[in-house]
Symmetry: C2
Subunit: 133 residues, 2 copies
DNA sequence: GCTATTGTACTAGTGTAGTAGTTCATTAGC
DNA sequence: GCTAATGAACTACTACACTAGTACAATAGC
């Protein structure tokens, strides 16, 4: 089977962060279903030719973010506690946090709320070209 | 005279970044006028009890961001080339960049444009409480 | 219980960001 | 020109993030 994830050690972005983002994206997009098992730490480390600790760190933070559940001897699984939207909610929380940080920085630079809304529309146009509200 | 800027070495935020943000904020809010001279590298370093290189680094990045102009023997001044809005524009560009980065991360997490707008309103409510559009 | 497989913990090496100490080049003003 | 002031450049130290190597503990399945 083709490898599910891929990382670029030379990208400058830490490997464990690349893994975290890919897992969250896969969960948010439904590529990974609730309850589905992730590759084991050692198998994924072997596949990506990185150290098991690097994969373990990514999984540890994903568990901290309530995206996956993991336990020794069993493996790591996409979280499936109750409503299936819980996981997506957790992912959305991360996105919200990123936006919140950006808004705080804008405010510290003297921008008011309307100015920030204008800036956001510009950013949306950049990353979602052709979509008008 | 009271010191214009203040830094906290124990905050975890690099000193030079604290300085950059304070200068940009002062420029954006009009506390520092176009053409106004900033404290010299060595005077500010002495005042804040940090190394001249730390202040110099902040000034260097501020010049890279087109916020100030600096030259040896003269000092550092708030940029005043033509329209006075150029400097504020430069500051706004930084804010726009922060938002753009956040939007890119949200998109990578599977959020679409409407979802991001909703998240932004939440962030605005957090940092600008009581302001409804 | 025994074994294989899982994630975890401990230690260490490597690179880089941040800061400091000091010296050098450039400019203004007389 | 001479002097004093300015920012720039160079080196080095420190802390921390990132990754790797290896050994350990916990669990599942028989």
């Amino acid at each position: 089977m083709p490898p599910i994830f891929s990382v670029d050690p030379r990208s400058g972005i830490p490997i464990y962060l690349q893994l975290i983002e890919q897992v969250k994206r896969a969960v948010a997009l439904g590529t990974l279903d609730s309850g589905e098992q992730l590759p084991t730490v050692k198998a994924l480390a072997l596949d990506l030719t990185v150290n098991p600790n690097t994969v373990a760190r990514a999984y540890r933070e994903l568990e901290r973010d309530r995206v996956i559940e993991t336990s020794p001897g069993r493996g790591s699984f996409v979280r499936a506690d109750g409503s299936p939207s819980v996981v997506k909610r957790a992912v959305t929380d991360v996105a919200a946090s990123a936006l919140s940080d950006a808004v705080r920085e804008c405010r510290s630079l003297g921008c008011d709320a309307p100015a920030i809304r204008t800036l956001l529309e510009g950013a949306l146009e950049r990353w979602f070209p052709g979509e008008n509200s």
